[in-house]
């Protein structure tokens, strides 16, 4: 069985504010050294998928820079490998992607040309680790036409932002996209697995008639096809759901169980190499419950925080409950609390940035 991986990575989310003013949400930095897309990409590669198409649209530069030739995921291949599928101009006209189904439809060639029999469609915004081979097994053993990944979401998720579904046995009988009053808490995780030819058929049928959303197409098939739900019990979060969610995800990794699940279970998470030296911790440093990445030099006080690569915290500075992205410098005596600092921010001596109910967010290259 050969599986083609497709990753939807064109998204833009207004609710992420300055964090996505210059990058696609799939390129959002997470956990000190990764970007959101690393998780889905690594999950696919770890499950033996050797050909992955990444569908991009919104502000793809940093995403492209990150993915490169796909070398870090072992996807720089003669056969298969990484394919970047961006919107394009053709003799017939030019079209931005109108939705998930349209995006795949416009790249029909990758479906048509490959030797793959199945397609696994994921999103570049999701943070989770999974053994996808279990999903494949489930699909075949239950005789599904389409398998969707589902999870019971607890009260920490805003259910009105998810697709909520009803299941009978394995079978999904109804799906309500972003309901005002959700019936239940079984949500669709945005991950699809199905036969490639079935997908092609659905796209030819619906996209040509103006339906651009893949989930809507599937909803219309619920009575005709066996659409099954694979129940996922692990950690799963979507960075696209807003700044608070993004912050929360980063803080989650300070918990041992989550760290173990995300970093060590079902294979490794691969990411672009940066060749930085290991972190150096000075004599006046205090570090508590924090993630410290390569290239960091810490002399100050860091607590409940995530420091990305190359962050410098000078003596007397305090960083608490904060996410500090790559190459940010926090100078002597500065105080940063409840904040997200994007890349290459400079916090000058004695400056204060303290988020209250709302997190304080500084955009890339800001100077305070």
């Amino acid at each position: 069985m050969r599986v083609l991986g497709l990753i939807l990575a064109g998204g833009h989310s207004e609710s992420l504010g300055p964090l996505v003013s210059k990058r696609a949400s799939a390129a959002l930095p997470v956990f000190g050294k990764y970007r959101a897309i690393d998780f889905t990409l690594s999950n696919m590669v770890n499950a033996g998928i050797r050909k992955v198409g990444v569908l991009t649209q919104y502000n793809p530069r940093s995403l492209m820079d990150h993915l490169g030739s796909g070398k870090e995921w072992d996807l720089d291949r003669k056969n298969g490998g990484l394919f970047i599928l961006q919107p394009y101009v053709s003799a017939e006209g030019s079209y931005w992607y109108q939705g998930t189904a349209d995006a795949i439809f416009q790249n029909m060639t990758i479906l048509r040309r490959g030797e793959e029999d199945y397609v696994l469609i994921g999103s570049g915004d999701h943070i989770y680790k999974i053994d996808f081979t279990k999903v494949f097994e489930f699909h075949f053993s239950t005789g599904a036409d389409i398998t969707l990944l589902v999870k019971y979401l607890d009260e920490t998720y805003d259910l009105t932002k998810y697709g909520i579904m009803q299941m009978e046995g394995h079978r999904i009988v109804s799906i309500e996209e972003k309901p005002q009053h959700p019936r239940g808490n079984l949500a669709f995780l945005g991950i699809y697995f199905m036969n490639k030819y079935l997908l092609m058929e659905l796209l030819y049928n619906y996209v040509t008639k103006g339906e651009n959303d893949l989930l809507n197409i599937i909803v219309a098939q619920l009575s005709k096809l066996k659409v099954h739900g694979f129940l996922f019990n692990g950690y799963w979060r979507n960075v696209k759901k807003g700044i608070d969610e993004y912050f929360r995800i980063n803080m989650d990794v300070l918990k041992k169980e989550i760290r173990e699940e995300l970093f060590y279970k079902y294979g490794k998470v691969y990411t672009k190499l940066k060749d930085l030296p290991p972190p150096k911790i000075g004599s006046s440093a205090v570090i508590k419950n924090s993630i410290i990445s390569d290239g960091c030099i810490v002399n100050g006080h860091v607590e409940n925080s995530v420091l990305f690569r190359g962050v410098i915290v000078k003596a007397g500075a305090i960083v608490e409950n904060s996410v500090v992205m790559q190459d940010t410098v926090i100078e002597e005596g500065a105080i940063i609390k409840n904040a997200i600092l994007d890349k290459e921010v400079l916090i000058r001596q004695q400056s204060r940035l303290v988020g209250k109910e709302k997190l304080a967010v500084l955009e890339k290259r800001a100077v305070l």
Partner: protein, 420 residues
């Protein structure tokens, strides 16, 4: 474009590193939290714009080979040139490398094929940052046939090095390898530039000489000086270390953790590249206390770490204290342990309540020649059982298991080796 080929001599055993080089060649010895010794020379090459590099291996090359691979981390996976591993081979004149000069002699065809104007002969086991263009410029400016990089060393250490005497033009007029009574403190760093056609002639002569040990320092260079060839000394003022002994290995590692380290790993304009395992960033727990230390990706620290270098994936359990120590990749330290003045090799398991490197000073009962630095060394893959107390200047061999410990007290200077 310069036509320069670099040859890195990486066949050395490094006997004075004791158990650290029992299973691996010295250039493959881990250094500085995530690197191996050869990374420094390889990085210097590519940072200097030299992208054709031959690595000469011999002693236990397995790990070194897998580390270097096709040279990808150093951008040496190239269509033209790139990195080539030159191992000893059979056929014609060949066999084991009899010495450093013989190693180059046996690979003459490879060098001829590359057709360089100069060859840069380097060691794979030195830690330093050097722009080789400086020595190449100097070599050409002096119209030299050969140039040797050198550095002033403390006079009482001079007898460990090749020592040279120069005239006002920096031309070498006398050279002695490891002299008992050194005539100067100008030491060879084992970094040579030669015009290839010139060197080739001498390599052939040397190979035919049955009295020769076929070594650059002992044979080739003294002969060049005797014959009054144009050999010059290039003075290097930067940081350079041959971490040849356990003590110097330990010291050079700990130096990196100082507030102003002599070698700056953090210089973005002179990066050191390496082949590393993909690991998440380090995690420091609420109860951890870390100061003056280097920690690496994949570390999980619950205890106290002072003046130490922790490599990738090292776990330090609650209540444990690590002081003045080097702990290599993947080693796990249990709860309530004390480790001081020690070098712990890769993937060692240290169970709870273990003490290492504590107590009085004592000479080593295993090999006082090698284990002189009052540093306790634990070899790779060893397991240290609970409640064991190991003194100063002790040795735990490679792959020692729990049942090899017959006593829970290893006095200073003692040792535990793997029983058959």
């Amino acid at each position: 474009m310069r036509r320069v080929l670099a040859l890195i001599l990486a066949g050395g055993h490094g006997k004075r590193l004791g158990v650290l080089t029992e299973k691996i060649a010295k250039p493959a010895v881990p250094f500085g939290g995530k690197y191996r010794l050869i990374d420094f020379t390889l990085s210097n090459c590519v940072n200097s714009g030299i992208y054709h590099v031959g690595v000469l291996t011999q002693y236990r090359p397995h790990l070194l080979n897998s580390h270097i691979g096709i040279g990808r981390p150093w951008d040496l996976d190239r269509k033209k040139g790139g990195l080539v591993i030159l191992q000893p081979y059979l056929g014609g004149i060949a066999g084991w490398y009899r010495g450093t000069a013989d190693a180059v002699y046996q690979n003459m065809e490879f060098v001829d094929e590359a057709n360089p104007e100069q060859v840069l002969i380097l060691s794979g086991d030195h830690v330093y940052a050097m722009d080789y263009n400086d020595i190449l410029d100097f070599h050409i400016l002096k119209n030299a046939e050969g140039t040797i990089a050198c550095m002033e060393v403390p006079i009482d250490e001079a007898s460990r090095f090749g020592i040279m005497v120069t005239d006002v033009e920096s031309r070498i007029i006398d050279f002695e390898e490891k002299p008992k009574k050194p005539r100067s403190n100008l030491a060879s760093l084992g970094i040579y530039v030669f015009n290839w056609s010139f060197l080739k002639e001498y390599l052939i002569k040397d190979a035919e000489n049955e009295q020769s040990t076929h070594d650059f320092g002992k044979d080739i260079i003294p002969r060049l000086i005797r014959e009054n060839r144009r050999i010059f000394a290039f003075k290097f003022n930067g940081y350079w270390r041959d971490v040849g002994t356990i003590r110097s290995y330990w010291e050079s590692n700990l130096e990196l953790a100082r507030p102003l380290p002599p070698l700056n790993l953090y210089d973005r304009h002179w990066r050191f590249y390496t082949q590393t395992e993909e690991m998440p960033p380090a995690y420091c727990a609420p109860e951890s206390r870390i100061s003056n230390s280097i920690i690496s990706e994949g570390c999980e620290i619950h205890g106290i770490v002072e003046n130490s270098v922790l490599f990738q994936g090292v776990h330090i359990g609650e209540g444990s204290t690590i002081k003045n120590s080097v702990i290599m990749t993947g080693t796990v330290v249990g709860k309530n342990c004390v480790i001081e003045n020690s070098v712990i090799a890769e993937r060692v398991i240290i169970k709870d309540n273990v003490q290492i490197g504590v107590g009085n000073d004592a000479p080593s009962q295993l090999d006082p020649e090698v284990y002189t630095g009052l540093i306790t060394v634990v070899g790779m893959y060893s397991i240290i059982p609970e409640n064991v107390r190991i003194g100063k200047n002790c040795v735990v061999g490679v792959g020692v298991s729990e049942k090899d410990f017959t006593s829970s007290e290893i006095p200073s200077g003692g040792f535990v080796l793997h029983g058959e």
